[in-house]
Amino acid sequence: MSESTEAVADAPSSAKMETRDVNVFYGDNQAIKNVSLDIADRSVTALIGPSGCGKSTYLRALNRMNDTIDLCRVEGSILLDGEDIYDRGVDPVEVRRRVGMVFQKSNPFPKSIFDNVAFGLRIGGESNKDLIAQRVEESLRGAALWDEVKDRLQSSALGLSGGQQQRLCIARCLAVWPEVILMDEPASALDPIATAKIEELIRELREKYTIVIVTPSMQQAARVSDFTAFFYMGELVEHGDTGRMFTRPSKKRTEEYISGRFG
């Protein structure tokens, strides 16, 4: 029997997203098996597990990013504030506005810093320049980047350092008033100082947003998250309070993975 149904040990009290019996297939290959997991509101949930365990696939199912892959099929229910994001009639673009995403490799558009952050608002139909300027500043401040770029907003975003580009991508995500932010290894390509800034930012963002982060670094999961979910071979093995998960996990497989005993 799958362990996933009994995996939720110390579940969060209030869930922003609830996922029930989620299965994800790529053609005949099942990448996610029966995962039921609640994502706590205004907290950081880290998804950990070895390569290929399905953590990124699961993350991408949370904002219908997998829709863009032809062979990909998602079963089960994924609720955002109690509403299934896969229901007919739900606009995937609106889902992705409410559930934003930041990727491993920062991907600013070849435009100015300002235009990058304003991009989502403009394609969303906003034309009020004052409002856009105000939102760009708020978003850059929210992403802890404003002080570094306020004097060169019209410069190309591609001239920023890797860490700044990643914070710009977070600002771009914040500009459209998301509620949940998904981060797929957001600091993997950054040096320790840039990583620390992103981690600090994640801790600040959780005051206002619900964050789900996939990270290959267990130390990072331990540092930034409130809850940790351990995936293995497409299954959710264990989920719980991060402090407990890293000091006394209840499952042997979790213990072996976090302590580096995986053969």
């Binding site: 006394r248 996990p249 580096g260 005993r261 053969g263």
Partner: protein, 223 residues
């Protein structure tokens, strides 16, 4: 428990265990020597205990340094983390056991060559034997990660406490009829107290075994 993927880390954990075992072995020897020094009023043996205690203090520092190094460089989690914490606490208990053995040796040195061991003192060697066995079991349990053996140490501690109570009663009986017997009687009372404390330190180590293996803190009556 499977082997660690990092062989070097595995070797460091092994080294930490070996050092704790070595400290435990030294402690056991010190307890035996100290009680013999007291029973036989042998100053030479008492001095050996003092010398061993100096090495014990160095061992404590070495164990703590190794554990801190593991915490800093390996950032252990789960059972490895609990073991590193337990090792630091166990090294303190072992060092204190060494101090208690020194206390017994000091009582031996206080005695005059003509002093004879007062009758209640006959129980001390049994207490020493039992406390030493508890220490051995507690350390084996730590190294073998065996909570069953650790729990056995708890019941052995009850037995030592009972003997301690008997020794105190015998000493009181012995001293109350003749004030001249008080110095010798008090020395025995003190030595019994030191041995009872040694058993408590062994119990502390056994509690850390439960913490390491099961992740449960059973100190201070917590189930």
């Amino acid at each position: 428990m499977r082997m660690h993927t990092h062989q070097e880390f595995e070797a460091e954990l092994r080294n930490l265990k070996d050092r704790l075992l070595a400290m435990g072995g030294r402690c056991e020897q010190m307890i035996g020597l100290a009680v013999r020094a007291f029973e036989e009023r042998d100053e030479g043996l008492a001095n050996e205990v003092m010398e061993a205690d100096r090495r014990m203090n160095e061992d404590e520092l070495a164990v703590d340094e190794l554990a801190v190094r593991i915490l800093a460089l390996r950032q252990p989690v789960g059972r490895d983390l609990r073991f590193a914490v337990a090792a630091v606490k166990a090294s303190t208990d072992l060092e204190r056991i060494g101090d208690e053995a020194v206390n017994i040796a000091e009582r031996a040195i206080e005695m005059q060559p003509a002093d004879r061991l007062s009758p209640p003192g006959s129980k001390l060697s049994e207490m020493a034997r039992r406390a030493g066995a508890m220490l051995r079991d507690a350390l084996n349990a730590l190294v073998e990660e065996d909570p069953r053996l650790a729990r056995d140490v708890f019941s052995q501690d009850d037995a030592v406490d009972r003997i301690y109570g008997e020794v105190m009663k015998l000493c009181l009986e012995y001293m109350k009829d003749d004030p001249d017997r008080i110095p010798g009687g008090m020395r025995i009372c003190n030595c019994a107290k030191y041995l009872e404390r040694i058993a408590d330190h062994a119990t502390n180590i056994a509690e850390m075994v439960i913490f390491t293996v099961e992740g449960r803190d059973v100190r201070h009556g917590r189930a």
